[in-house]
């Protein structure tokens, strides 16, 4: 950082965390105020939340997004941006290379991430990685660590994590993922129920869908609708309408 900044305090970096889906929804009750980097969010008294930074005791927006207030904390829910891996994220990756003791996985972050043989549910001998998974395979992983240099550790060991066979992947802007999931998973439940598809949503903006071809296409259409109208209200109803009309359910 340029030395001219030494006098300033930036707690923003540690605060540039993603806001989870629930918090995002709860901020909808207040007016949807769009903020731009540099906008003053709070003169004093409020704590700096995600997507903000502090300068001279005041809290400012660090991102283009929607101002969100929760208790005594002010934050910014981003409207755009690349996927930034955070510990605990579930992500959908694609294997892009292999070594003797790891696979290299593209998880839609700036750099590919190694998946070590110790982090898969099988016992893999040195040099035998290719017998289990190969280049092009899709995997559902969990981010188990991100260090200061943004190096990411992923695992496939937890329950539910696995290699994804068949189906297809849709991509959405990572900032829109909370809308796809919805409050307490309400939106994704509507998608699953009305299309009958199996759906996994990666925090990294990739959504895996499997089922009957027509239903997959319908799910993709609904996902695009959510993505296009992510910042409008009454979205769950709109999606329900679309799906019910198409599937003939609910008539």
């Amino acid at each position: 950082m340029p030395s001219g900044h030494a006098s300033r305090v930036f707690i923003g970096i540690t605060n540039l965390k993603r806001v989870n889906g629930m918090q995002r929804e709860s901020s909808r009750e207040t007016a949807r105020e769009i903020v731009v980097p540099g906008d003053l969010l709070s003169g004093s008294g409020m704590k700096a939340g995600p997507g903000t930074y502090v300068d001279g005791g005041s809290v400012y927006a660090a991102l283009l997004g929607i101002r969100s207030v929760r208790a005594n904390t002010v934050g910014v829910v981003p409207l755009a941006g690349q996927y930034v891996p955070m510990r605990g994220d579930t992500v959908i990756g694609k294997i892009v290379d292999m070594g003797a003791s790891n696979w290299l996985v593209d998880i839609n972050a700036a750099h590919p991430t190694p998946l070590h043989v110790n982090e898969v549910p099988w016992r893999v001998e040195f040099g035998e990685t290719g017998r289990f998974m190969t280049i092009g395979d899709l995997v559902l992983l969990k981010v188990i660590g991100v260090d200061e240099l943004a190096k990411v550790q992923v695992s496939m060991k937890e329950h539910g994590l696995r290699k994804l066979a068949g189906g297809m992947v849709a991509d959405v802007a990572p900032a829109k993922v909370p809308r796809i999931i919805g409050k307490n998973g309400s939106m994704i439940q509507v998608l699953k129920n009305l299309t009958g598809c199996r759906i996994y949503v990666g925090q990294n903006g990739r959504i895996w869908i499997d089922g009957d071809m027509d239903n997959i296409l319908l799910a993709v259409e609904a996902i695009k609708l959510i993505e296009d109208q992510a910042h409008s209200s009454g979205l769950t109803e709109k999606v329900k309408d679309l799906l019910e009309k198409r599937t003939g359910k609910g008539e």
Binding site: K94, D106, N108, A109, M168, V169, D171, M213
Partner: protein, 256 residues
């Protein structure tokens, strides 16, 4: 890199949809994307057009300069076509001198204009063997969603039609509109599996096995062609694409 990965993941999806007769964006196989043309977009150019072909966005600017004719065509103007696939338009484009992709696009557009005799080059002669007008056709991609060949061709033809030769500025008499004689229009189709689709998007193009660009003139005659891609086409497929290019080309020409 991640975007390449997605393209790869989409491959399967696109193929599955095509087998049901559906394109990603809901178009018919023989349908072009919507075309919008803004002529005289750049006033620093002697002629220009910005063309949106779906989400593909291209500007062509025409610059006219006085220079020397080639020795073998002493009484004709000179045509120079150049394409810049700048990294602003796509993560797959790189800075630096034009790569093979840019050169191919420039040459295919050039061939259409040249062989289709779009401009009466003899009228660009100022003094035989000494001075002629040099016509620079500069193609600038802004947003890349496939089929730059046709977007650039449409922009080039539209730009030529809006060009005024700046003779006065160069002290060569009165300004005059560029003598456009013909309007060669190209139509590009790709082959994916057993399907032939015109005007491919980026995703369709990245999945396609082969590509064919055919430029035709108002009279329906062919003036330029270019096959691309590692896959092959049957003679029947080639002839079908030629037919498509003639009919679709006529519709597109009406818009330039």
């Amino acid at each position: 890199m991640s975007k390449d990965v997605m393209a790869d993941l989409k491959r399967d999806h696109i193929a599955k949809m095509l087998s049901k007769g559906i394109r990603e964006d809901g178009r018919r196989f023989e349908e072009m994307r919507p075309i919008t043309i803004e002529k005289e977009y750049v006033r620093s150019a002697e002629g220009s057009a910005r063309v949106h072909l779906g989400n593909t966005d291209v500007i062509v600017g025409i610059k006219m300069m006085v220079g020397q004719p080639f020795a073998d065509t002493p009484n004709k103007g000179v045509l120079t076509t150049n394409a810049e696939l700048i990294p602003l338009a796509s993560e797959t484009f790189e800075s630096g001198p034009p790569g093979r992709e840019a050169i191919e696009i420039a040459r295919v557009v050039d061939r259409g204009i040249r062989e289709g005799q779009a401009v009466d080059m003899e009228k660009l002669c100022i003094e035989p063997e000494k001075e002629v007008w040099i016509m620079f056709v500069d193609i600038h991609a802004l947003d890349y969603d496939g089929n730059l060949f046709d977007a650039a061709n449409i922009a080039a033809v539209s730009a030529l039609k809006s060009t005024v030769v700046p003779a006065k500025r160069a002290d060569k008499g009165e300004d005059f509109p560029l003598p456009v004689a013909h309007e060669p229009i190209s139509v590009t189709a790709v082959k994916i599996g057993e399907h032939v689709l015109v005007d491919p998007t980026y995703d369709e193009q990245s999945v396609a096995e082969a590509r064919l660009t055919v430029a035709t003139n108002e009279n329906g005659n062919l003036c330029a062609m270019q096959k691309g891609g590692e896959g092959s086409l049957t003679a029947d497929e080639v002839l079908r694409i030629v037919d498509l290019s003639r009919t679709i080309g006529a519709e597109v020409r009406a818009k330039t």
